[in-house]
Symmetry: C2
DNA sequence: AGGTGCGTTGCAGTATGTGCAACGTCCATT
DNA sequence: AATGGACGTTGCACATACTGCAACGCACCT
């Protein structure tokens, strides 16, 4: 809606790919160098971009700090965390918490496995939306129209032979997940990694978050991991209960 | 430099304090509601803000994802990580990596303690700049003019009785740190937590990052922690060596 | 019904952002 | 050393695109 702001914000994902100089930014924005310069300067004043010693721009520290605050403001994370830790203490595997927001699913908390083999994933990282167990739960709860629209819009990268191949398969899987109330990802993202996930629901029954336990084949088989399902569901339900009991977070006066 | 972008970006830290509705945003920006609406819409299109069910705005998922990418692009983090993990395996305590950027010091990596007592800190979180051991190392290396200007600009919150009280004390401490080549924080931030830190240097000898080992009094005494100094310095030097040896990261074609 | 608070829309005026062209600087090349 | 090119930077005139206003719609409350 606002051209100037629109252009300025378009610079950020561009820089996320890697550092770029003024000319590159101007070219990719399709504007004159002087225009790009002024936008970058404004972004710089706010600490959103940083000018490194070779004069090129990259994303700045304030951006990272802001994102940090954004996550700390999510009350679901705060409530869930101790539960995730407890589950990790019981089973030893990696535990994730994820939320859905406008076409993206992202991890907002993680407790590392106590086994030597660690998974590659990070808080704040967008999830492989078409295969991850937590993503299935979050999307399965969307209103039908939105769910279909999103499924059509998505791409279906074939990470492995068991990745969800296309929209119809995905929608079918979502329905199955919706009925059974839990989800799995058996090697759909990385060949040797399996996950079991359960939904966290708000007072109105809508899914507000999803949590999962993940472990590589070399540690436990898929069957052994599935045996943890009751524990995972109990944990998710406990979080749901605590979350529903509270009044939604208000501003601190 | 660009008024519109400037205003739009000013919304973000404002929302970082907590969700806000249109009226509040407009008021705090000092602009008309319709103006604020257009800015918020533009931010929304880019996923930087999210409109929750009660119509209020809060920071959005794309912001978090961007920050994530920003950190993954920091080559120093990538190089340092395995070293941090190794140090953690040796000593068991929490290990941090931090960088300085335009008046802020922030953690860019962390390996959790293997003792049951965990520290409160998070990747991406700005560091208590006047007391943290890593901050001392990073600031001690700034050009004198910049260092003095910054020291004057800072605030000196008294977290504990041992917090750095004011600019002169801070500058004196920085000189000491600069000479000895390492730094400590002995209960300056939280009464019972101590840290030992060492600098990571680039090929030109400038400090590009700093790493620290932290542990609460209940686990080890300050003296015991200080005994780890040689190990910490060795680790930091190893990272420095590897970082200097490499050509600075270029765009992947 | 009537009133209040909030988000939203269309519009006219002009402040504000835009592209241009020229300049300075640094680096590579001859 | 001298020349050329690439890149960031500046000042300026133009008109686009942003602003604030006022009116509207809507939901909620009394």
């Amino acid at each position: 809606m606002s051209q100037t702001v629109d252009r300025a914000l378009s610079i950020l994902p561009l820089l996320a790919e890697g550092p770029a100089d003024l000319g590159q930014v101007a070219e990719r924005l399709g504007v004159h160098k002087s225009t790009a310069l002024r936008l970058l300067r404004t972004l710089h004043e706010h600490g959103m971009v940083y000018r490194q010693s070779d004069q090129r721009y990259r994303l700045g520290a304030r951006l990272i700090a802001l994102a940090q605050e954004a996550m700390e403001n999510l009350d679901i994370r705060e409530i869930a965390h101790p539960h995730l830790v407890r589950l990790n203490e019981q089973c030893g595997h990696t535990v994730h918490l994820a939320v859905y927001e406008e076409d993206e699913v992202l991890y907002i908390d993680k407790v590392e496995s106590r086994y030597p083999v660690r998974m590659y994933s990070r808080i704040g990282k967008p999830v492989a939306i078409t295969v991850a167990a937590v993503a299935k739960l979050l999307l399965a709860d969307l209103p039908e129209a939105e769910r279909h629209a999103l499924a059509d819009k998505l791409e279906y990268p074939l990470y492995t032979a068991r990745s969800t191949p296309n929209a119809p398969a995905f929608l079918k899987e979502l329905e199955r997940v919706s009925e059974q109330g839990w989800a799995t990802d058996l090697g759909g993202h990385e060949e040797s990694i399996n996950c079991v996930a359960a939904p966290v629901r708000g007072a109105d029954g809508r899914v507000v978050a999803a949590m999962s336990v993940s472990a590589p084949n070399v540690v436990v088989t898929a069957e052994e991991l599935l045996a943890l399902l009751p524990q995972v569901r109990r944990t998710a339900d406990a979080i749901s209960g605590e979350y529903s009991g509270r009044t939604p977070a208000k501003d601190p006066v």
